[in-house]
């Protein structure tokens, strides 16, 4: 354990110590003083005596993506009269990991499933008690499985989407259902990559590497994918980081083929001829949701909040407004644009999100190797 761990642990020990006192030696005394609740039987959550929700502070700290603080998302939580959460905003999950290591406080945050293991390794998460989340039974089991590590539900997976090519159908042939659009000579000069090492996985899949293996390439395969990407990099118009800029470039015809998320299709299909492809190689997809801080003082409030996120009404709005998927399987799709439902396979998300149709993001222990290879690709493009 590093020296910093020792320091950080000291900062969290006070809370932990007080809780330990309450649980162990002080439990009897506390029980005599106030009503307590025990959670966990049948859920895999170890029995810990906690103060009831009425005795929690209710000052829920939520570290969220901008936009996800919208009140309609946690309407059910609000309707129950709980105090509004306090939001802070994240721009990427790696940044949250850094902040968390530095002692930044949150009760709930919203990582992609591929990063849950990182948080678990840091020891900052506790599992959810799914019995306290009424909507949990309605959630897509394929997605929820990605939030479960060693039988513990560390993440309530709420939203998902694809990372696939969006193409201008007036410029490129949509019948070619492949990631190859992002490396094609036909689209050279009009290709948009997102700034992510996933481009290397897409390159590998274009070269025939199976999608699930592309997450864990050995050095030789990664080098092959990197070299292929480098050979095609001169045809890249932009490596975007701001999706609104990418949307503009598609509108203006600067981009004919680009890495995109579903929201791009929902917005752009009304303006220019575009198609969103779920490639035959297998569609790479992301899923994310809520994780619970191990030392939260608002355990029950957090569960109520997660329950609101998992609700049907939140799911319907999330899909309708942004085109993102939601894990609740009871969402009424009749109000959703039929084209969106069809393109993203929302009518059967369990099948469409399962392999080999789709490959959901997963923990990659050697991200630094992928990242350095991705750096090499970017560095190969002269300025």
């Amino acid at each position: 354990m590093g020296q910093f761990d020792a320091v950080l642990n000291k900062t969290t020990t006070r809370r932990t110590f007080l809780r330990s006192m309450a649980v162990a030696g002080g439990a009897g005394v506390l029980a005599a003083c106030r009503k307590t609740e025990t959670t966990g039987p049948g859920t895999g959550v170890s029995s810990i005596t906690r103060p009831p929700i009425t005795e929690e502070t209710g000052e829920l700290l939520v570290h969220e993506w901008a936009g996800y603080e919208s009140k309609w998302i946690w309407k059910d939580y609000r309707d129950k009269g709980y105090p509004d959460p306090t939001y802070s905003f994240l721009t990427n999950t790696e940044g949250v990991i850094a902040k968390t290591q530095g002692g930044f406080p949150w009760d709930i945050t919203h990582p992609e499933v591929g990063y849950i293991q990182d948080y678990v390794n840091m020891g900052v998460l506790q599992e959810w008690d799914t019995s306290l989340i009424a909507n949990f039974a309605r959630l897509n089991p394929v997605l929820e499985a990605t939030g479960n590590i060693d039988g513990k539900q560390y993440e309530i997976v709420t939203d998902w989407g694809y990372s696939c090519p969006l193409i201008r159908t007036d410029k490129l042939d949509p019948s070619i259902n492949s990631y190859s659009h992002l490396f094609s000579d036909e689209a050279a000069g009009h290709i948009g990559w997102f700034d992510t090492p996933w481009i290397l996985q897409m390159a590998a899949m274009t070269l025939g590497v199976p999608a699930d293996e592309a997450f864990f390439m050995d050095d030789a395969t990664l080098t092959e994918a990197k070299d292929f990407a480098i050979s095609k990099a001169s045809g890249v118009y932009t490596i975007w980081v701001d999706f609104t800029q990418m949307w503009d470039d598609v509108r203006q015809g600067n981009l004919w083929a680009t890495y995109a998320w579903p929201d791009a299709f929902v917005v752009l299909k009304e303006e220019v001829p575009v198609a969103y492809l779920l490639p035959d190689e297998g569609a790479l997809s992301w899923a994310e949701g809520l994780v619970l801080r191990s030392d939260t003082e608002n355990y029950y409030h957090a569960h109520e909040y997660a329950d609101a996120w998992a609700s049907v009404t939140t799911g319907e709005k999330l899909i309708g407004l942004w085109g993102y998927g939601h894990s609740n399987l009871d969402v009424d799709l009749s109000e959703i644009d039929p084209e969106v439902v069809e393109v993203f396979g929302l009518d059967d998300p369990e099948t469409n999100l399962s392999e080999p149709n789709s490959y959901i993001d997963r923990y990659q222990p050697d991200r630094d190797r992928y990242n350095r290879a991705w750096d090499e690709v970017k560095a190969s493009i002269g300025a």
Partner: protein
């Protein structure tokens, strides 16, 4: 003489003691706590002396991050300044931008200090005002001007009709990076040059003129040499921050806008490769420190401080 006595009193070094230390203590503490200590910690972290911050940390003393970086053809690229290494790419960018900024800023500073008379401070303010707005906004505004459907291309292609299509090198290119960065930094170069020019004793210029020197000769042999501290300071003001620049190249440089600073940022984000990123960051700190030491030999701080 009274004057001598006054001068002598002014030049006397302030006595040390508790009051002097009291004045220095606050800023010194600030620098030590918020600058020196973090830099030392990053340096130690880069060799594994501190670990556990990132899930991928090497938890023992190691030079691996430094070795990986310095031997990499991608990040360092050997000792060839014209090579493909990102470090040298950034050095080249900083050098070009610094010289371009100097060339653009010097006439402005000269105009203000020498020719603008009583209006010089008003004009200086006018030059500085746009730079009170957000840095990002100004850079984004250049996107509107330079992109293929932007103001310049639209004017040349659609309005005037002298081009068949957008100028390819105007946007997402080295040119756009140099142009925007030079624009951003010109005022910061103009200010120290302005200060040094203003500090030049007018009698020297009059004497040169009386002795028959032409305007050009006066500029070349008197004004320019005396303004060199400002020129060097301006160069440093641009060169140092632009070595680590990554936002502007990213916004206007297109796919080729990946710089050394971008690699550091990338190591701290996608890869959670923080020890490697720390090694690169420390290398940049050392580079800047060496450059400061070299430039410092030629820089009279008092002359550019007004």
């Amino acid at each position: 003489m009274a004057t001598t006595g006054l001068t002598s009193r002014r030049r006397r070094r302030p006595s040390g003691g508790a009051s002097s230390w009291g004045i220095v203590a606050a800023p010194l503490t600030w620098v030590i706590v918020f600058f020196v200590t973090p830099v030392i910690m990053i340096a130690i972290y880069s060799v594994g002396g501190i670990s556990g911050l990132s899930p991928n940390d090497i938890e023992e003393w190691t030079i691996t991050p430094w070795k990986d970086f310095t031997t990499s053809p991608v990040y360092m690229g050997g000792l060839n300044p014209l090579g493909s290494g990102l470090f040298w790419k950034s050095i080249r960018m900083s050098t070009i931008v610094s010289f371009t900024s100097l060339v653009l800023a010097y006439p402005i500073a000269y105009l203000l200090a020498m020719l603008a008379g009583k209006r010089k401070y008003t004009l200086l303010l006018i030059i500085i005002v746009p730079f009170l707005t957000s840095y990002l906004l100004r850079v984004l505004a250049w996107r509107v001007l330079l992109n293929p459907q932007g103001v310049i291309n639209t004017f040349l292609v659609d309005t005037v009709g002298i081009l068949n299509g957008p100028i390819p090198w105007l946007f997402n290119s080295s040119f756009s990076i140099y142009l925007v960065l030079s624009y951003v930094w010109v005022p910061f170069v103009a200010l120290p040059i302005f200060v040094t020019l203003e500090g030049i004793d007018e009698h020297l210029l009059e004497a040169s003129s009386d002795l028959g020197a032409s305007r050009w000769k006066i500029f070349r042999t008197v004004t320019l040499p005396l303004s060199m501290p400002g020129v060097i300071a301006g160069f440093i003001f641009v060169f140092i921050p632009t070595i680590g620049e990554f936002i502007t190249p990213q916004l206007v440089g297109g796919p080729g806008g990946f710089m050394f600073g971008s690699a550091i940022q990338s190591a701290f984000s996608f890869g959670l490769d923080w020890q490697f990123g720390s090694a690169m960051a420390m290398f940049l700190v050392f580079t800047v420190a060496i450059l400061l030491a070299i430039f410092g030999r030629y820089l009279n701080v008092r002359s550019v401080a007004g």
